[in-house]
């Protein structure tokens, strides 16, 4: 396991000075009951970048991303040790309100999950919870968010129709728009395109590239070609460990660890 350590540390030193760290994970361990799902994870996520997490099923990638917004705590058998600092503050700190964290950290899931409401109300839902009642302001938020998710032109004439009437790809971009409406800092994406057709997938990928100018994005994907296409950095997880974390260019052209190479070239997994 020595090689794992070296690669990760090397990368951590490469963090460029002009970009700030969004997440700093130090010695994170996580257990589901007796199962040790995440083992001593050290990972730094920089702002305005797309960080992809790849690895075979059961490697801990979804668990890791769900730890970043503490969603993993919904399972009562979970125990953790170590630290995850979000913007310098440990999210496991007793005084850290989970609601506060999740206002900053939005999430998009594998299957589009719009609310059974109108397109407009889907987007306005979050801002309304945060106390915004002014119709004009809500209108602005809805338009801005839908534009931000590159779906405005497709839905602007039917904002009052039910979101369930949209195609899968449109529903997913609607969910991204819903996430943008609360103006988060980070967007977590857990397999956001695995239920979409290839063209919708490319649209969401293109959107992710747009969004990174204003947000930091962490994306878990089974599709390593997707990680290659859209991310700046890639972390390869295996059996709960980070095997390699480096620039995506490097991971996909000349990875340092044999296990990474074997995985991305399809020699195992």
């Amino acid at each position: 396991m020595q090689a794992t350590k070296i690669v990760t540390e090397k990368n951590n030193q490469k963090v460029s000075k002009n970009k700030e760290l969004v997440y700093e994970t130090k010695g994170l361990n996580l257990w589901y009951g007796e199962t040790h799902a995440l083992k001593n994870i050290d990972l730094n996520i920089q702002e305005n970048e797309v960080t992809a997490i790849i690895g075979p099923s059961g490697c801990g990638k979804s668990t890791y991303i769900k730890t970043l917004n503490r969603m993993v705590e919904l399972s009562p058998i979970v125990r953790t040790s170590g630290e995850i600092n979000y913007r310098g503050r440990n999210i496991f700190d007793k005084s850290y309100q989970v609601e506060e964290l999740r206002t900053q950290v939005g999430m998009v899931f594998q299957k589009p999950n719009p609310f059974p409401k109108s397109i407009y109300d889907n987007i306005a839902y979050g801002p309304r919870i945060h106390g915004i009642r002014n119709k004009k302001i809500l209108d602005e938020i809805v338009e801005k968010s839908l534009r931000g998710a590159a779906i405005w032109d497709e839905v602007k004439d039917r904002l009052n129709q039910n979101a369930y009437g949209l195609s899968g790809g449109q529903q997913q971009r609607l969910c991204i728009a819903r996430c943008l409406a609360i103006e988060p800092d980070v967007i977590l994406m857990d397999e956001p395109t695995s239920a979409l057709d290839p063209i919708s997938t490319l649209k969401v990928e293109e959107l992710v590239q747009e969004l990174k100018q204003n947000f930091s994005i962490i994306i878990v994907t089974h599709n390593m070609q997707q990680a290659a296409r859209i991310s700046d950095k890639t972390a390869f997880f295996l059996s709960g460990e980070v095997v390699e974390f480096a620039e995506t260019d490097k991971i996909f052209s000349n990875p340092s660890d044999k296990r990474t190479e074997d995985y991305i070239t399809g020699r195992f997994g």
Binding site: L202, K203, E206, A228, R229, F252
Partner: protein
């Protein structure tokens, strides 16, 4: 929203780099040939010194192409664009080497007066560099009519090559003392002929890029 806008932006960047390496090589050959006609050893030396720029650009093109294949999984015409870029860069880099070879010949000839005016050789140079320029334009515009013209010009270069060789060989019989210079001129003739062949290869690659089929224009 144009799907895969960034990927197409990268393909455009690749094309621009290729045009850049072509322009650099064209300039290099221009300078090298001028150094030959003016017997300017200093200028010939700068041609040799500057060759690293072309080599570096070829590496950049290859690196970019490799990353595009690894990361973007190009298919159909996009895949041909990437493959063709690698092949054309290699041809053009070789062409820049011929410009360096001519510069070396210029240095070997030195200040010694030329035994005859470089009429045929100059004509070959003009045709060969125009072929490079047209092949680049055909690549940039994906214009196969222009690519075909490049192939036709190569026939003229080949004809001139044959004539020049015969002329230089008969001169070698008459002026044995000038043999070292004649040898250099024979080399230069060969370099220009090869330069034109590589321009034809570029044109062939444009055919492949546009049509997806292979053509041998050197035949």
């Amino acid at each position: 929203m144009v799907v895969r806008e960034r990927f197409h932006g990268d393909l455009k960047a690749l094309r621009e780099k290729l045009v850049e390496i072509g322009n650099l090589t064209e300039k290099s050959m221009g300078k090298s040939f001028q150094a030959l006609t003016e017997k300017d050893v200093e200028a010939a030396l700068t041609v040799i010194d500057d060759d690293y720029k072309v080599n570096r650009l070829e590496e950049e093109i290859n690196d970019l192409a490799i990353l595009l294949i690894a990361k973007q999984q190009p298919v159909a015409v996009d895949l041909r664009r990437v493959i063709v870029a690698i092949k054309i860069a290699s041809d053009i880099e070789r062409m820049a080497d011929f410009s360096v070879n001519i510069a070396k010949s210029t240095i070997r000839i030195g200040k010694e007066p030329l035994i005859k005016p470089l009429e045929h050789i100059t004509k070959m140079y003009e045709l060969a560099t125009e072929m490079l320029s047209l092949s680049l334009k055909s690549y940039n515009d994906e214009d196969i009519l222009l690519a075909k013209k490049v192939a036709e010009m190569d026939d003229q270069v080949d004809a001139l090559y044959g004539e020049t060789i015969i002329e230089l060989l008969s001169l070698a019989k008459e002026k044995q003392e000038a043999l070292p210079q004649i040898t250099q001129l024979l080399f230069i003739t060969r370099y220009l002929e090869r330069f034109a062949d590589h321009a034809t290869n570029v044109a062939e690659n444009v055919f492949y890029l546009v049509k997806g089929k292979r053509y041998d224009l050197n035949e």
